[in-house]
Each structure stands twice: as structure tokens, then as C-alpha cells.
């Protein structure tokens, strides 16, 4: 069984934000909700790197662990999903998430938040695959169609890899050996307690 992961090759990422708009386009994600984002570290200095980041679909996901209503579940592909029918918008998953993935629509009074939204790895939610109900809540379900997440598929420089963890790690390792450098698989240690040797 595949274990789906993301890997952003920081030596390829150019902060073009295709992943961000591909995600918006694929799922019609509303303004203010950023399921995926690109962060540039060391901006303007030698050693600058940009990294595309979203939910990493962690092993032993912290969000699931702290959820007071236990609305998260992990699919057979290792994708961490949640049920918006169960979520109460408490925000604890944001505190626990090492990657800042959970997003909340702002609702009425004070800081009160709507139901959490996050990257689904283009795998929808608990509803039946590719139904209007699933699309409305979680966006499209590409995995069910045999496709990979739109962000990675459309990445301009093929920096963002998605797919089975072993395969993308192998692709990355080959890249590193071809080019002779690699600044690492960002977030893997935190998400999967694992690193890709570069």
C-alpha cells in the first residue's frame, strides 16, 4: 500500500506560487484560506530558499491527537483527512500542527472560527468520492481519479513532489546525486520522523 507524502525540493522551488493557485483553482478555495503557501527563508541573501508548504499528512498526526472531537482520520494511502461535519472549529489543531496547515474561515463574533479547512492531498473527505457534497466541503478528489495533487502536478520546476514516499524519496535522492547538492527534504523529520539523505 502506498504511503503518500509531499517533498519540496528547495533547490528547485522558485516561489512561483503555481502550487498555491493550482490548489485554489482545483478546489475553488475561498479568499483568505491558504491550503498551501510558499515560504522564502533567508530572503534576499545567499542561501535563500523557497519552500512550498501545506499539510504534510504526518505520521502520527499531531492535529488528530489534539482534536477534542476526534474528527481526523488517516486513509489507507496515509492521507490525513478530517470531517467538517464533526469539526467544531476550536483551533487546537493549528497549535499542534508543525506546518501551519489548518485554516479557519472567520465567522461572526470575536475570534470565532468556522470549520477547519486544510490540504486534502486532493483526496476529498469522508463523503462518497467525487460527489457534489464532497466537492463543496473538501474540493475535488483527484486521488480517486488516479491523479496526484494538483499542486505537485503543476509545479513549474517540478520542485514539489507528491506520491508514494519511497518513490519520491528515491527521485529526490537521484536528483541530489546527479547535481551534487541538496538542501534536504524540508519537514520530513518533523512530519515523518524521517529524512531523505542528500
Amino acid at each position: 500500500m502506498a504511503r503518500m507524502k509531499f517533498l519540496c525540493d528547495a533547490d528547485r522551488c522558485i516561489e512561483c506560487n503555481a502550487c498555491v493557485t493550482a490548489c485554489k483553482n482545483e478546489h475553488e478555495v475561498p479568499w483568505g484560506i491558504n491550503r498551501r503557501r510558499v515560504v522564502t527563508i533567508n530572503d534576499g541573501k545567499p542561501g535563500e530558499r523557497s519552500i512550498s508548504m501545506a499539510c504534510m499528512h504526518c505520521t502520527d498526526a499531531p492535529c488528530a491527537a489534539v482534536c477534542p472531537v476526534d474528527c481526523f482520520y488517516t486513509t489507507a494511502d496515509g492521507v490525513v483527512l478530517h470531517s467538517k461535519d464533526l469539526c467544531i472549529g476550536c483551533g487546537y489543531c493549528f497549535y499542534a500542527c508543525p506546518f501551519g496547515a489548518p485554516q479557519y474561515p472567520r465567522l461572526g463574533n470575536f475570534g470565532s472560527r468556522g470549520k477547519m479547512d486544510k490540504c486534502t492531498y486532493c483526496a476529498g473527505g469522508p463523503e462518497a468520492d467525487n460527489t457534489p457534497a464532497e466537492y463543496a466541503k473538501y474540493g475535488s478528489n483527484r486521488l480517486a481519479e488516479g491523479k496526484l495533487p494538483a499542486c505537485a502536478e503543476m509545479c513549474s520546476t517540478k520542485a514539489l513532489l507528491a506520491g508514494d514516499g519511497d518513490i519520491i524519496a528515491q527521485i529526490y535522492a537521484e536528483r541530489v546525486s546527479t547535481r551534487g547538492y541538496g538542501s534536504g527534504a524540508w519537514g520530513w523529520r518533523t512530519a515523518y520522523k524521517d529524512m531523505v539523505s542528500g
Binding site: 491527537a65 477534542p68 472531537v69 476526534d70 501551519g100 538542501s183 534536504g184 527534504a185
Partner: protein, 343 residues
């Protein structure tokens, strides 16, 4: 330093203030070392460590979207928050709350309710004004509801979810969340009122030393003398003021996430403090409820009708009785004076 021990230490420090024993000092979380030069072409490890030293353990970069939280690329602290949340936090909660229940149970079984030895005099004296009573019950009622809805966040998943099923539990939890948010306001008002109304009677003085020395009457057989409030009650008062205050402050911070406290570390710490203080407060209040109800004969009416039986008052608060009976008296005890009923 481990994040959790840090949290715990801070929590204890805060609680110590509640007891009026220490001043708050939030230790500097990160030891700053000399800034290294940015490595030009570095491997993840080097770069990551370098970046961690720039901030407080998180990797922060630049994003173009206005949501500056998104600029935090990786905050491994989330993992620790999670581990703390489902591990030690729950144990602290369980230990303090169950511990107090057990203690109260044992006390009740062993000693039984504290009785008014001389029986009721039948004459009632005014102990609390109606505003006092209002403030108390405002705080008490909101606190109990807050405690229940709050504990649901921590334990509901384990205790209620299996019973109710996911949909019903979510419906309840969602309502509980809304209630928790709104009840914060009456609770805060109650705490503020109590702080103002009861302040003058809750300044610690020498009497309290003796009261504490005698363990509030647990050591020996005599009721140690007390004025309007004894040492124990003063502890509850100050715990309510500081603990309740801290709950209110942390609660509002959590209610307006990233608006008052802007960092993720700050929010995590706030959430943990709110939880730990709440657990300790719940434990304390369980004790308070016990003593104010079945634990002590005659105590409940004080906060119900505002009046208490004279004998009860003489036994537990002799100095206060003297003060109200004879308001001109000096407030020091004559040499050799004994408390009423001390024989």
C-alpha cells in the same frame, strides 16, 4: 529546556502568585547565542539549525500573503504541544481533580462534616450583602459551566464520545464551545466584583499565621481564631482572584487567536496555561464546594441567604463576630483571650 517543563514551571509560577507567595517571572524561553553567518549552500541540518537560532525554534521566512502566521514554515513545537496535550496535561488534570475528590471523600469519611459544636443559637447575623451573594453565585455558576464545557475539550473525546456517538458529541461540543466562549464574560465580571467586594477582608495578617499554624483547626481540637475570613478562605479568595484572573486573561487570548498574542509559541503556551490553571482551580473549587456545603454545617446559608447562625460565626469567625458586635473594639486580642468554644 523541554517545552513542557517550561510550561509547567511557568504555570506553577503563576499559581504561586495566586497564593500570593511569589512574583511572576516568565523565564526567557530561548538562550540567544551569537548569530552565525548564513551558510551559502548548506544542507538541511545546518540551514535548519541556523534558522532555528534566528527565531525561537521555529523556521520563519517571508510570505506575500497578509497572514503572517503562514511565514512560519516549520514549528517543531507543534509536536511537543501535541505530546504535552495528550500526555502530561491529562495526567495533571486527572491527578488534581481526582486527587481532590479522593481527599474530600476521605476527609468526609474520616472526620465527617464539621459541626457547630455549641449548636445553633437560632439568632442569625448578616454575613454577606446581597451584592456579595450575587457576585459569588455569578462567579460560581459560570465557573461550574465553564469547567464542565472546558473539561469536555480535554476528556469528552474519551468519556462522552463513545457514549454519544460522533454526531451528537459534535453537536454538544459545538454548543459547549459557544457556551464556554460566552460564559467567559460573566465569569470575568464575577471575579472582578469579588475582587473589589471582598478585598478588604482578605488581606493576610498575623491571625492567619496562627490559623495556618494550626492547620485551620485540623491540628489540635480548637478552632483557630479568624476574622471575617480565615486563612483558608483567603487562599480561596486569592486563588479565585489570581487564578480566575489568569483564566480570564488566557481565555480572552485564546478567544481572539493571534490578535493579542501573535506568536504560535505564545498561543500554545497560553492554551497550556489556561488548561493547567483550570485544572488546579477546579480541584481547589471542589474543596471549596465541599466545605461550603456538606463539609461544614451552617456554612452554606452564608452564601445562600447571606446570614449565618451566631454560634456558627462565633466558632469559626470569633474575631469577626466581635468586630460586628462591638465595632469600637480594637482589633487586637486581649492577652490570654481564648476563642469561643475553645474549652
Amino acid at each position: 529546556m523541554n517545552r513542557f517543563t517550561l510550561t509547567l514551571r511557568t504555570a506553577l509560577a503563576v499559581f504561586a502568585i495566586c497564593l500570593g507567595a511569589a512574583t511572576l517571572s516568565v523565564p526567557n524561553a530561548v538562550a540567544q547565542s551569537a548569530q552565525p553567518v548564513a551558510p551559502a549552500a548548506a544542507h538541511e541540518e545546518v540551514l535548519f539549525r541556523y534558522l532555528q537560532m534566528q527565531g525561537s525554534g521555529t523556521v520563519v521566512g517571508r510570505v506575500t500573503i497578509p497572514d503572517q502566521k503562514a511565514a512560519t514554515l516549520i514549528q517543531p513545537g507543534g509536536r511537543e504541544f501535541q505530546e504535552t496535550w495528550r500526555g502530561p496535561m491529562k495526567w495533571i488534570a486527572a491527578a488534581s481533580i481526582i486527587g481532590m475528590l479522593v481527599l474530600v471523600g476521605v476527609f468526609y469519611t474520616v472526620k465527617g462534616p464539621i459541626r457547630t459544636t455549641s449548636g445553633y443559637a437560632g439568632r442569625l447575623i448578616k454575613r454577606f450583602r446581597s451584592i456579595d451573594v450575587f457576585a459569588h453565585w455569578l462567579t460560581a455558576a459560570s465557573f461550574v459551566l465553564l469547567a464542565i464545557t472546558g473539561l469536555n475539550i480535554t476528556f469528552g473525546r474519551y468519556l462522552l464520545l463513545p457514549l454519544l456517538g460522533p454526531e451528537a458529541f459534535t453537536a454538544w461540543s459545538e454548543a459547549a464551545k459557544v457556551a464556554h466562549n460566552f460564559l467567559g464574560f460573566p465569569f470575568t465580571l464575577g471575579v472582578l466584583l469579588m475582587f473589589v467586594l471582598f478585598l478588604k477582608d482578605n488581606i493576610f495578617d498575623k491571625t492567619d499565621l496562627r490559623w495556618f499554624a494550626q492547620g485551620g483547626g485540623m491540628i489540635g481540637h480548637a478552632h483557630p481564631p479568624a476574622r471575617k475570613f480565615n486563612g483558608g478562605q483567603k487562599i480561596v479568595y486569592w486563588a479565585t482572584v489570581f487564578g480566575g484572573g489568569a483564566l480570564a486573561v488566557t481565555g480572552f487570548i485564546l478567544m481572539f487567536p493571534f490578535q493579542i498574542v501573535t506568536s504560535i509559541d505564545g498561543m500554545q503556551l497560553t492554551a497550556q496555561l489556561h488548561g493547567i490553571i483550570a485544572f488546579l482551580m477546579i480541584a481547589l473549587i471542589i474543596g471549596h464546594i465541599y466545605l461550603g456545603s456538606i463539609g461544614m454545617e451552617g456554612a452554606f446559608s452564608a452564601m445562600w441567604s447571606g446570614k449565618v447562625d451566631l454560634n456558627w460565626a462565633k466558632e469559626h469567625h470569633p474575631l469577626w463576630v466581635e468586630e460586628i458586635m462591638n465595632p469600637t473594639r480594637k482589633d487586637t486580642l486581649p492577652a490570654g483571650a481564648k476563642g469561643a468554644g475553645a474549652d
